[in-house]
Symmetry: C2
Subunit: 196 residues, 2 copies
Amino acid sequence: MARPRLSDGTRTRLLEAGAAAFLENGYHGTGIKQILDEVQVPKGSFYNYFASKEDLGVAVIRYYRDCTARSMAEAMENAPAPLVGLRTFFERQMAAFEEARFAGGCLLANLAGELDGSDACRDALAVAFRAWRDDVRDALAAAQRDGTVRADIDATELADVLVESWEGAVIRMKIDRSLEPLDRCLRHQLDGYFRP
Amino acid sequence: MARPRLSDGTRTRLLEAGAAAFLENGYHGTGIKQILDEVQVPKGSFYNYFASKEDLGVAVIRYYRDCTARSMAEAMENAPAPLVGLRTFFERQMAAFEEARFAGGCLLANLAGELDGSDACRDALAVAFRAWRDDVRDALAAAQRDGTVRADIDATELADVLVESWEGAVIRMKIDRSLEPLDRCLRHQLDGYFRP
């Protein structure tokens, strides 16, 4: 049976609403109906867009990955130097977190916390995390070339250290409702351990 | 009305089962009934032990905090030097994670990911996180005194850096099903940035 023709706009709005709902209430705390109501899509048509809630989860993770990649690219594009661009990316994240009153945080970390049971989601999380790590690695490698980041440790390894420290800092930010853990991460990693 | 006399044993078993279930399926993914079935307690008597699911959540967070404190104390007690004790604590955590096939992870981080909506749980998480940070700070301060950790950064600040990096590494461990992020955290923080 042919599937009805789908509006890309509706699918994107479902992904946006899904990302927002998962950020606010977690995957298990979110019902499909709630997302459909938000986007004003009738219940029956959900399965025109996604095979299951898990399928929506995977698509939301990919959508979030693409948003992060775009945000990184924007920050790097207009920066006078790679380390400045990387810092701009993190500072924009901090501004967005503060605007959200420290709720939400990072969707990848939150979903990692509750999605042990879904191999499909875990695979999507691993891909998304690695894609972000690779963007950070490229920025750090460029900074190594211009002498603003230590070059005696591999850029991939430094990128892993940075993104993992950042994710833990985001968790602490959510608990303490404060940007201090994020500031601390940048201060001790980027401006401390990573210095040439 | 007087509450029936409660068995501490049953309450503890409910906390153990709650911690295990929250680790496996998250807070929102866990039903009270499932915990009661696990411990073979009749549904009606849940409210003899806890006022609500949220109240159980708070109690589970405290219980988890106490377990972590005990584990830290044990590791430190028998260690020839504070830095060795701290390392032992983290290595035992890694062994336990590996035994659990990288599922679960850290209950504090997982619940932080999905419990924006509960002030009571968030407060309990903040207290638990700070108690653990304080234990790590005490170990690092002792290591500073015996010259095995750099003394030019405050021990509390170093402890924050370490526990936050560790939490992010645990998230990545869950996603990648690998101890490498945890190894990396100890390698670059404890054996790298923290060296005198």
